[in-house]
Amino acid sequence: MTVTSTEKLFVKGNEAVAMAAIEAGCRCYFGYPITPQSDIPEYLSRELPKSGGEFLQAESEIGAINMLLGASATGVRAMTSSSGPGISLKQEGISYMAGSELPGVIIDIMRSGPGLGGIDASQADYWQATRGGGHGGYRIIVLAPASVQEMYDLTMLAFDLSDIYRMPAMVLSDSVVGQMKESIVANPRAKLALPEKNWVVRGRAEGEEQKIVKSLHLGDGEMEAFHWQMDARYHELADKECRWEEVETADAELIVTAFGSTSRIAKTAIVMAREAGMKVGLIRPISLFPFPKKAYAQLSERCKLFLDIELSTGQMIDDVRLSVARDAEVAFYGRPPGAGSLPTPEELFEQIRKNYRATA
């Protein structure tokens, strides 16, 4: 189903991802069933062929990511999706895609771990996502939606950024945002200017140069040069593509920071705090890589107290601490993932109250 009206739809987060993929011109989807993201392959198995696309249930997560590699190498937009255990298996392919400078979209609907863990919402794969995840020292673009609307919008953006920067892009969400239904407007946003894919492997026609998609670099200095080239691209991303949201930070004495599902819970806690007379704001990173460091640095020039909230024992807090001014304090409240561990707004309000102190 391609939706271009301004009509309000009522859909699941996972379905919004699938709808956005089709809208973004995704031609191939490869995946393997795993809870809590199976709505994505289910939707696409039904809808993608209708728009001439190719849906294939792979034999394994490894099969799926390598099919993505192959399809992407021929220049089409392609996607895969999974959760914790499956994303671990895909890391080999993601590393090869990064090394081969291939675009491609990977949806990660986080569940708890390690190991089989559980199917409850988790944010404990922040490190895995933002530090590259596989071998070799690379990064991928990571976007973190906090609403069903953003599941739609950021999936579309992931395709564009992935093409522009020639690297895999991940939409990092969890089973709260994936499973909840919200009213959304499926309006295609203005298309970004995309570079021509002059590197595509599609058969060397007469007069054309041979095209090779590869990650092997054996020549003297070749690999080193490639690393610096990747590094330059990450700096460019940091300069141009940081995205974040701020709520009531202007006069805040305490700034809560959280991404994805927890930021939603925090928003209501902040409303409660304001009603109770506390000057509390929120900063929510939307791009986790690149991490909006400058936004944190600027806020911390005035506000010296941050409260980082995560569904883990603390991962994003590393980036927050690296971003804020040296004299800013970063407090932490975490609920490691698992059944019954989703915090309530009331609980987060209590944490705000505990940490809050007004400057005279």
Binding site: F10, V176, K181, T268
Partner: protein, 180 residues
């Protein structure tokens, strides 16, 4: 204005459909809506619950610790969740299946509606969720009954649209019973 409602029962009582209906009705009235489902690992007969938040502006947290309104359809969910209702809130219970055992919650209005009985009297016990929706609207005034009727058209597959009049009757009966 921001409204939140928590609905719980066992699988088969139409808890998720009730949540969906209230969501569609709120969208019909131009609200932003967040519907958050949760259910047990059992495919049939396990616990089922959902939270619906709707607002003119942002819906904020899809998770609510102390709901302003809870609609509880069986004893188990009453025992577990009745005490969580926010002060000043409303707890609507299915008195056919729930014995409140004289429980009172400070500053919470407990509204007893014999939902199963009403649904049975209307001809089908499966309409218990419609009775619950009617009772919810009557007690909260959060939306119009006509919006719920419009929502039925969206939420039910075309082949079941012939059942809409009966469902609307069940909602009206639920509303009437909640009025007391």
């Amino acid at each position: 204005m921001r409204y939140d409602v928590f609905i719980a029962g066992y699988g088969g009582q139409g808890v998720l459909l009730a949540g969906n209906l209230l969501s569609y009705a709120a969208i019909h009235e131009g609200k932003n809506v967040s519907f958050f489902p949760a259910y047990g690992v059992e495919k049939r007969g396990g616990a089922a619950m959902c939270t619906v938040v709707f607002a003119d502006g942002e819906t904020g947290s899809p998770v609510v610790g102390n709901p302003s309104v809870s609609v509880l359809l069986n004893q188990l969910s009453f025992d577990k969740y009745a005490s969580k209702v926010k002060r000043g809130g409303v707890c609507i219970v299915n008195s056919t299946l729930i014995d409140i055992g004289g429980l009172t919650i400070p500053e919470v209005e407990i509204v007893q509606v014999p939902m199963n009985q009403i649904a049975l009297d209307m001809g089908d016990v499966r309409m218990v969720n419609m009775v619950a929706c009617g009772a919810y609207i009557e007690k909260t005034g959060a939306m119009q009954l006509s919006s719920l009727e419009a929502a039925l058209k969206k939420a039910l597959p075309e082949r079941n649209h012939k059942l809409i009049p009966a469902n609307v009757n069940a909602m009206n009966a639920g509303a009437k019973a909640a009025k007391g």
